[in-house]
Symmetry: C2
Subunit: 231 residues, 2 copies
C-alpha cells in the first residue's frame, strides 16, 4: 500500500462512511498490485478471494459458456468489481482481464465479510453500491432485449457524447472489437452499423467520431433515461 493512494480510496462511496479504524484495518490487509495488460485477474467459476478496486487502467469483465465469450462490462477507475460474489462467498460468474496496464487494490474477501458483519455503516455503503450495480445491469438488459444492434450503437454513441461534454466529437474509450462485444454484435456487424449511421451524420475516423446531425441520430436512437442515464 502506498500512502499516496489512501485518500482516493477513502473517498470512494464504499469507504467514505466507515470509521477510521475500520478503514485502516481493511487497508492493512489489502494488497496493491500493478498488472500489465492482458492479465487474467479472475476466472469464472473460481471462489471469490478478493474484492477488487481498480485505481488505474482498465479491466474487462467477461462471461463465457460453450466456447463462446462476451464482454459484460468495462471497469474504469475507481470502480469495484466482483462485490456480490465476495459478499455471498460464492463463485465468480464472470472473468476479469486487464486491457491496459492497471493498478488494482485487492482486499481479502474474508476482511470484507468480517467488516460487513460488524460495521453497520459499511453494510449500508455496500447496499448503495450493490443497488447501483444491480440497476446498471437491469438497464443493460433492457437495452439488449428492446433494441436492435444499430439502435444500441446509436444510443451508446449518444451516451458517450454526453459523457464527454457534448462537443460534437466522441472518442471511443475502447477498441471496436470490445465495443462490438459489449453491444452484443460481431465486429463485422458493428462496422456495418457504423455504415448505416453515416446517413445520420455519424462520421468515423478510427476512434474519433464526429456527429453532424444529432437530432437525426436521436430520432433513430430514441434514447431513454430509464436505459441510458446513470441515475
Amino acid at each position: 500500500m502506498r500512502e499516496h493512494d489512501l485518500p482516493e480510496i477513502r473517498a470512494l462511496e464504499l469507504f467514505r462512511t466507515m470509521s477510521e479504524e475500520s478503514f485502516a484495518e481493511l487497508m492493512h490487509a489489502a494488497y496493491l498490485q500493478t498488472f500489465p495488460t492482458q492479465v487474467q485477474l479472475i476466472s469464472e467459476g473460481d471462489l471469490a478471494d478478493f474484492l477488487f478496486i481498480l485505481l488505474e487502467g482498465r479491466v474487462e469483465l467477461l462471461g463465457s459458456t460453450a466456447g463462446r465469450e462476451t464482454t459484460m462490462a468495462i471497469i474504469k477507475p475507481f470502480g469495484t468489481f466482483i462485490l456480490a460474489a465476495v459478499l455471498m462467498d460464492a463463485i465468480h460468474l464472470m472473468s476479469a482481464r486487464t486491457t491496459e496496464k492497471s493498478r488494482v487494490l485487492m482486499i481479502p474477501a474474508r476482511n470484507i465479510r468480517d467488516l460487513l458483519a460488524k460495521d453497520g455503516d459499511f453494510a449500508r455503503a455496500i447496499v448503495v453500491e450493490l443497488s447501483s450495480c444491480y440497476r446498471a445491469v437491469v438497464r443493460d438488459q433492457k437495452n439488449l432485449k428492446l433494441r436492435s444492434s444499430v439502435e444500441r450503437l446509436a444510443n451508446r454513441i449518444i451516451s458517450l457524447h454526453n459523457a464527454q461534454g457534448a462537443t460534437g466529437t466522441v472518442i471511443l474509450p475502447y477498441d471496436k472489437k470490445t465495443l462490438a462485444s459489449l453491444l452484443n454484435m460481431t465486429p463485422e456487424n458493428l462496422s456495418r452499423a457504423f455504415g448505416t449511421l453515416k446517413a445520420y451524420g455519424v462520421q468515423v475516423d478510427n476512434e474519433r467520431i464526429c456527429l453532424s446531425d444529432l437530432t437525426g441520430l436521436e430520432t433513430l436512437a430514441q434514447p431513454n433515461r430509464l436505459i441510458d442515464e446513470r441515475v
Copy 2:
C-alpha cells in the same frame, strides 16, 4: 395485516434476522392488499413508494421503450421486488403487473430506508438479497448474450425439469407468450423452437412437456451452472 401471514413474512431472508420490534414496526406501517389479475402495480419511471413482497399469486416485471415491451422477470411467492429502487429512493426501471389474483405486502419505502439507517442487521439482510438479485440478472444477461433462442429454450426446460423434481415431465409455469418474452423470442419463434426440440425428445402438449431424451437435450443445451443454477 392479517396476523395469519406474519410468520411467513418473518421467515423471509430479508426479515429473519431483524429485531422483534423492528419487524413489528415495519408490519405496522405495511399494507396487505389483494389485487385481481392484470393490475398494474408499478409503472416504469415512477418514484418507488413501496417495497413489494408477493405473498400469493404471480407478478410480471416488464421493461419497455419506444413502444416495445419485454418481460424481465416473473416473481413468485415469497419474492420481493423493486428493492433497489426503494433503497436508492429512485425511479422504477421496470413496471409490474399481476398475472394472477395476487396478495401483496406493501411496505412504505420511507420505513424501509429509515430502518436501513438504524438497523445494521437489516442492512446485512438487504445486502444478501441484493447480491442474489444482482447475480440473477448477470446470469440472465450471459444467457441472452451467449446462447441462441433454441438453446435458451432448451436450458429453460432443463432448469424447470430439475426444479420440478426431474420426473421426465415439466409443467410450464406461465403461458407461452410470456415464456417467449422472457426468453427474448416472438411467440412464433418459440413455437418453432419447440418444433426443433422435437428431434431431442421434447413433446409438448399445452403446458405439459414430456422429455424422452434428456441426454440428447443436454448435449444441445450445454447447461452451465454459472448461468442456469440458482447458486
